[in-house]
């Protein structure tokens, strides 16, 4: 173990690796801060750049983007009331209220430091449970994988309670798209329309570029430039002051970190869900005198600790089961595959030094996020001023190049255009696009494992309740459904959530 740790550390002690983790942190900061661009789209766009790099350098760049991208969305959320990423939608509630009162600087500092705490907590969790979970995972069969993926789909449905039907509809659009290609069990072609390029199915990354990057660019083009409201002169705040807030709210931070990390572990969820769950929990336990929705730092702490705690959590199922915990990790599967690593129960035992490298890189990325966030918080706001006339064509070109380079196949450009148009229409009709992407990822996992589980057990469906892990997972799923459906009735009584307090479709896009 010490030898592996040393090997992992040695792989990182390379100026290129350090340079790329730094570059990643800067890129993540820029993409996270620019409205419409998310950590997910940054990772998608920069994935082709990693093809020629070694595994450690590739992970350095992508994990750098991952950590700071998840935080940076809160900068425009606080200063412009425009969440840079869907995971920061809840942050906007108290953050923008603080900025309107002249406490914007304090809000950003609180956000970056909370993100750091959340990130570190989840990293610890990943380091502690992933290696042992990987050993347990070797006893999982198709029965268990099916129930895990089912929990993922239920999470998507359960959390989009504002428009559960639309969330489910989006997830099923994704599942439907995932049935294109050769049937994974019998090898028969489905929905090919005489196009051999569709035999391989619809690549998640092409769908992702279309649904997120292209659709957002179309929206920006359609919307034109929004004028920012004029904020009062902002007071500056010291780090010490924010630390005092933290010591007063130790329990809230711990709770939010646990919630974030656990939601990260659940396949199919992401930072948006984590931040809303933590925020609504903070609301439920509000004390008299708390001013949630009107500029309460505790609201910021709950959201930001939680949405960055997703990072380490989401890597747990990725590295141990090969099932992505959130949309970014779905892209990371591809990144690792390009380097010749297959994610799954063998990943950690066979590539222990790389696993330690990933842990150390996450640690570095969190520190870089903290440093860059504190030092560059005023500069980051400048990204918001890039004219759309420059940003939109640039992003579209990069997106097109990214889609082509996935498989050197011009056909994927057509797919990106189709999915871009589809994503644009979905957003226009207020159908969230994130569940669609998760549907594409989870669809094949659901289908194959259901069919395999039944084939291997003589078509006996009771295996799903007679195998203990699967039974517990299904029970947990029912519990989740109960927990998520119950507060939906109550939420009318707790009216202090602020104007846009109900999770609608916007926050599901992360």
């Amino acid at each position: 173990m010490i030898a592996d740790l040393a090997a992992g550390a040695a792989a990182i002690a390379d100026p290129w690796v350090i340079l790329f983790v730094f570059l990643g942190a800067v890129i993540g900061m820029v993409f996270g801060a620019a409205p419409g661009l998310t950590a997910t789209s940054a990772i998608v766009l920069f994935l082709p750049v990693t093809y020629a790099m070694g595994p450690t350098t590739s992970m350095a760049l992508l994990l750098g983007i991952y950590c700071s991208g998840y935080f940076a969305g809160s900068i425009p959320a606080i200063l412009l009331n425009t969440p840079g990423a869907p995971g920061s939608a809840a942050t906007a509630l108290d953050g923008y209220a603080m900025a309107q009162q002249g406490y914007g600087d304090r809000a950003i500092l609180t956000a970056v430091m909370s993100s750091f705490v959340g990130g570190l907590f989840s990293l610890l969790l990943l380091a502690l449970i992933a290696p042992s979970l990987a050993r347990v995972a070797l006893s999982f069969t198709s029965v268990e994988y099916f129930t895990f993926a089912l929990v993922g789909i239920v999470c998507v449905a359960g959390i989009s309670r504002g428009s559960m039907i639309k969330g489910l509809a989006a997830a099923f659009i994704g599942v439907l798209a995932s049935t294109v290609g050769l049937d994974p069990v019998s090898g028969v072609g489905r929905f090919l329309f005489g196009q051999p390029n569709l035999m391989g199915g619809i690549p998640t990354t092409a769908a992702l570029i279309g649904l997120f990057a292209v659709a957002q660019m179309m929206l920006l083009t359609a919307k034109g430039r929004q004028e920012a409201e004029v904020l009062p002169v902002q007071q500056t705040t010291s780090v010490a002051e924010v630390l005092k807030d933290f010591t007063r709210n130790k329990f809230l931070m711990l709770k939010s970190a646990v919630v974030g990390a656990l939601i990260g572990i659940l396949p199919g969820t992401g930072p948006s869900i984590a931040s809303w769950v933590s925020y609504s929990d903070a609301l439920r336990t509000a004390k008299p005198g708390d001013r949630y929705g009107k500029g309460e730092p505790k609201g910021l702490i709950a959201c930001e600790v939680s949405n960055n705690a997703v990072t380490g959590g989401a890597l747990v199922p990725l590295l141990t089961l090969g099932i992505p915990g959130d949309p970014v990790t779905a892209v990371l599967i591809g990144a690792l595959m390009i380097q010749g690593f297959e994610t799954g129960p063998f990943f950690i035992p066979h590539n222990t030094p790389l696993f330690y490298s990933i842990l150390i890189l996450l640690l570095i990325s969190n520190f870089l996020m903290l440093g860059i966030g504190i030092a560059g918080r005023r500069l980051a706001a400048k990204v918001l001023e890039i004219p759309h006339g420059i940003m939109v064509p640039t992003i579209l070109c990069v997106a097109g190049a990214g889609a082509f380079s996935l498989a050197s196949n011009p056909f994927y450009l057509k797919l990106v255009i189709i999915f871009g148009a589809m994503g644009y229409l979905m957003v226009r009709f207020k159908i969230p696009t994130a569940p669609a992407v998760l549907g594409i990822v989870l669809g094949p996992i659901l289908e194959q494992n259901l069919r395999n589980a039944l084939t291997a057990n003589d078509m006996d469906a009771t295996v799903f309740v007679t195998r203990p892990i699967s039974a517990v997972t299904l029970a947990f799923m029912c519990l989740l459904l109960w927990v998520w459906l119950k507060p939906a009735k109550k939420s009318d009584d707790s009216g202090d959530g602020g104007g846009s307090g109900t999770p609608s479709d916007a926050e599901l896009k992360g």
């Binding site: 093809y51 070797l138 006893s139 999982f140 069969t141 198709s142 290609g181 050769l182 994974p184 069990v185 019998s186 090898g187 028969v188 072609g189 090919l192 051999p196 390029n197 035999m199 391989g200 199915g201 690549p203 292209v214 660019m217 179309m218 929206l219 083009t221 359609a222 595959m337 390009i338 380097q339 010749g340 690593f341 297959e342 799954g344 129960p345 063998f346 066979h350 939109v392 064509p393 579209l396 070109c397 997106a399 097109g400 082509f404 498989a407 050197s408 196949n409 011009p410 450009l413 990106v416 255009i417 871009g420 148009a421 644009y424 194959q448 069919r451 395999n452 084939t455 291997a456 003589d458």
Partner: protein, 325 residues
């Protein structure tokens, strides 16, 4: 307003709709321009590593740069279907295998037939093998076959429907009148996970799956029962061949170059000669060892015959499984 918004958005898309055109080339002494190799699998896989291993050696011998293009999808079928549509100018070839060239065209909707290609030269092969968990009651291939004959219901897995390992085992079972339930996996590694988790009772996979699973001291979580080669395999000398185990059966997964049908003979000859020299070079053997490949040179005609022979043995299996007509 809505329509206008939509049109502006759609206009933004136009920036994407630029498709690269491949310049047509004039023909003189072959090779007069760079050679493209289409690898129908992603970066990092066995096929990709094989191609990247051959590329520098062939560059030296042909005296022209080689560009590797990865075009993955559908177990190699997407890249080959696109290759079949290209100009047969002798400067674009692809990597095919037993499953993609012989089996896939027999199945539903492949987008090509073996006649869509000119076979160029076969490169390497890996013997098929069969393994069980180390704690399995089946000590030998004979134990396993006897159990299946006595009507025991066993599950097995391999790296995907219609893949080499799947077909290899299906042909063996059919030849010996055995039935077992196939559980699908997307890769050899996924199938290995199913073997270790107990979901399946035996595993079919190319030889290269096994050496990494065996520790230096010889202990392992799996037991390799037999390999379908003529002689014992150099990388696992303790494992008997199927013939030694009492079941005469030969089957390997192989890889070879193909090009769009109608390639100039001159190009086929030049590439074949370069591959022959490469495979004969002793220093190249060391590189093959890293990925457990055996050199398996075949000329264009021999490779064509090999495909026809395998199609004959695959067809009844695929028909039985409802995968071919």
């Amino acid at each position: 307003m809505q329509l206008k918004d939509f049109l502006t958005g759609a206009a933004a898309l136009a920036g994407l709709a630029i498709v690269a055109a491949t310049p047509a080339a004039a023909q003189d002494d072959y090779p007069s321009q760079p050679l493209q190799i289409i690898v129908p699998f992603g970066q990092g896989g066995a096929t990709d590593q094989l191609s990247r291993m051959f590329a520098p050696a062939l560059e030296d011998r042909l005296g022209t740069p080689i560009v590797i293009i990865n075009q993955p999808g559908a177990g190699g079928a997407v890249g080959l279907a696109n290759l079949a549509l290209l100009e047969p100018d002798g400067y674009t070839i692809g990597v095919g295998s037993d499953s993609t060239l012989a089996a896939r065209p027999l199945m539903d909707s492949s987008g090509y037939t073996p006649e869509s290609f000119d076979t160029v030269v076969r490169l390497v092969d890996i013997p098929s093998g069969i393994a069980v968990r180390a704690d399995s009651p089946y000590e030998t291939l004979d134990d396993l076959v006897t159990a299946l004959q006595s009507g025991e219901r066993l599950n097995w897995s391999g790296s995907g429907i219609g893949s080499g390992p799947h077909l290899a085992m299906a042909v063996f079972l059919a030849q010996n009148d055995l039935t077992a339930t196939y559980v699908n996996s997307n890769s050899g590694q996924e199938a290995m996970v199913k073997l270790l988790s107990g979901e399946v009772d035996f595993f079919s996979g190319g030889g290269s799956n096994y050496p990494p699973m065996i520790d230096d001291d010889g202990s392992s979580d799996i037991r390799v029962l037999a390999l379908a080669a003529e002689e014992r395999w150099q990388y696992l000398p303790d494992v008997p061949t199927f013939t030694e185990a009492g079941y005469p059966y030969l089957r390997s997964q192989w890889f070879g170059f193909v090009g769009p049908a109608g390639m100039p003979q001159e190009a086929i000859d030049a590439i074949t000669e370069a591959v022959r020299e490469t495979l004969e070079a002793p220093e190249f053997q060391d590189r093959l060892d890293q990925f457990y490949f055996n050199p398996a040179f075949q000329t264009s005609e021999e490779m064509r015959a090999q495909i026809a022979e395998e199609q004959e043995s695959f067809l009844p299996i695929l028909q039985e499984a409802g995968l071919a007509e």
